[in-house]
């Protein structure tokens, strides 16, 4: 079966400000640096990693909002990288985004009803009457009332605003939802309401999710598969239970052991990863993770490891020279 979305060696760079006061000096940072993944219809793939790892850039590229500098992106079997604005518009209807901040992502001057109807208007879907009906159905599906549709964003709590954003994303009947940290700004008790809602909508509508999160507990809960990113590359990917129970990349191991766990008791000296993430992998020879890694050997300083399956599991890939050794 063809995947719903496939990326092959996707690269996205941005210019960086140089030392000159004005203008740039031509250097570019590799936000996404040769990433390949497949997203099957009906699954939830979680992209995890720390700030600056490129997960948001990759998500925006997958959402067809950023054109990749190199590599191939295909959607429902058709190549979509390189398409122009006009050809992209009908595809964009099929891929919708939910953002982290439900305060910044809703137009404060529109009512909730108008916000949810906006994608329908933009894509010319339905008559005014049909749109009204659809907005009412969507409001109900995300747990809002008909009366709520007359109110403005500032009159809602954070959780309710995120419900509006979800209804808006669902309006043009997308098959793929890209959610960038959709529950990170919400309180704990509201976070679980929204996670449950996303789960219910997925089951009811057969949606596919690309879910970006830094919160490993949330990822464990919602994902079928996980891709861990570091410095613009996927360093490990596989089924969610394999990643959490048998990580095969030291960075994944470090992320898992750094995440706080309730009821484990007060911290003892953990395997805490030292240092900060470098700005760019460009200056690093060999494996981009080696400056922070605790199990390096000679080849880690010399050659960059490929993302390849571990022994005995085709679905579980790691970009570590020591992927099949017990030391990770």
């Amino acid at each position: 079966m063809k995947p719903l979305l496939e990326a092959r060696d996707v690269v996205k760079t941005f210019p960086i400000a140089g030392n000159r006061l004005f203008g740039r000096d031509g250097r570019r940072t590799h936000a996404v640096d040769g990433v390949s993944f497949r997203l099957e219809a009906g699954e939830t793939l979680a992209l995890v990693g720390e700030s600056g790892c490129g997960k948001t850039t990759l998500a925006r590229t997958a959402a067809l909002l950023l054109a990749p500098d190199a590599g191939l992106l295909s959607f429902e079997g058709e190549t979509v990288s390189g398409l122009g604005r006009r050809d992209l518009k009908p595809l964009r209807r099929r891929i919708q985004l939910i953002y982290q901040d439900p305060f910044g992502s809703l137009n404060p001057r529109l009512t909730a009803g108008a916000i949810i109807a906006e994608p329908l208007v933009i894509h010319g879907l339905g008559t005014a009457e049909e749109r009204r009906k659809r907005v009412a159905d969507l409001a109900e599906a995300v747990g809002l009332t008909a009366g709520d549709m007359e109110r403005y964003p500032h009159q809602f709590s954070g959780g309710q605003r995120q419900r509006i954003a979800i209804a808006r994303a669902l309006a043009p009947e997308p098959c793929l939802i890209i959610a960038d940290e959709p529950v990170s700004a919400l309180d704990v008790s509201i976070q679980s309401q929204i996670l449950n809602l996303l789960g219910k909508l997925k089951r009811e509508r057969g949606l596919t999710y690309l879910f970006i999160s830094h919160d490993l507990s949330v990822v464990r809960h919602i994902a079928d598969r996980v891709a861990v990113m570091y410095l613009g590359r996927i360093v490990e990917t596989g089924p969610v239970d394999d990643i959490f129970e048998n990580p095969r990349h030291p960075y994944t191991r470090a992320l898992l052991s750094a995440a706080p766990v309730i009821g484990r008791g007060k911290r003892r000296a953990h395997e805490t990863l030292q240092g900060d993430v470098p700005d760019d992998a460009a200056g690093i020879e060999g494996c981009p993770f080696h400056p922070r890694c605790w199990i390096t050997r000679a080849e880690c300083f010399l050659t960059r490891p490929n993302l390849a399956p571990i022994v005995g599991d085709e679905r579980h890939l790691s970009a570590c020279h020591l992927r099949d050794e017990g030391r990770i």
């Binding site: 954070g158 704990v188 679980s192 750094a258 484990r264």
Partner: protein, 323 residues
Amino acid sequence: MPIDPVLRVRDLDVAFATRDGAVRAADGVSFDLTRGKTLGLVGESGCGKSVTALSLLGLVPPPGRVRGGEILLDGRNLLTLPDKALDAERGRRISMIFQEPMTALNPVFTVGEQIAEVLRVHLDATKADAWDAAVAMMRRVGIANAPARAKSYPHQLSGGMRQRVMIAMALICKPDVLIADEPTTALDVTVQAQILDLMLEMQQELGTAILFISHDLGVVSEIADEVMVMYAGRVVERAPADSLFEAPLHPYTIGLIRTLPRMERRAGPLPAIPGAVPDLRTLPPGCRYAERCPQAMESCHQTDPELKGAGYGRSVACIRVAP
């Protein structure tokens, strides 16, 4: 032997003046901070945890006002101290670190100057001595190449480095009390782990009492000796950390712990807490959690529960658990 607390807070009452009358953001909050120990304060937005922290330093922003209660530092009530005397304590005996070090640091001074300034103000150190002490402190909090980094401006440092600078600044006078308001919330998880390790290490070395405020139960579980849970301006439960997370008593605490997705295992739908936090302007007459509580009885909607002892150093504000 009874442990003598460094800081005692009794019946703290903080209210904000609004058009609809006074809104009580912190309502009868009492707790003790002990040398070398960490009290975790958890709750969701608007529960009063940050306002409680700010009031300890006399920093509640208007139209907020501390209307009553006592904040006793070695028996002296900070709330009745003249401003000048309070200034002498702030930053020296009680200090604070915030969530976003970028906004807490001054962008036009180097971080070394900012750390040194604390010593010059409080301990009358000379410029050269203060600078040397600042660099030594930066080294102490794990900043590599401290003499050079001291000459950096805040924007030139990473988020984790900036938080280390804040910690250096907060601890340079060896305060008795450190208030940390979501100090790791803006940080990545591996950097968060480094900062938590650093805070524990510094606490062991200096014997500082820490009030650690966070919405993240996992973080609090890893750093606190005792935990206090706030809901809608009230403390609803207080207990030693182990027993709170193992066997929570208040239905809100139980709900919070259950509703969290867990990293160790995968479950079905999360047991959500229905509804939302009540509006502090229109609080119900009875228990503030009754509306959302699965165990609420008739009387819960009428009787406002008090925080009562429940044995083993625990207390809870629920008439079902501690009538």
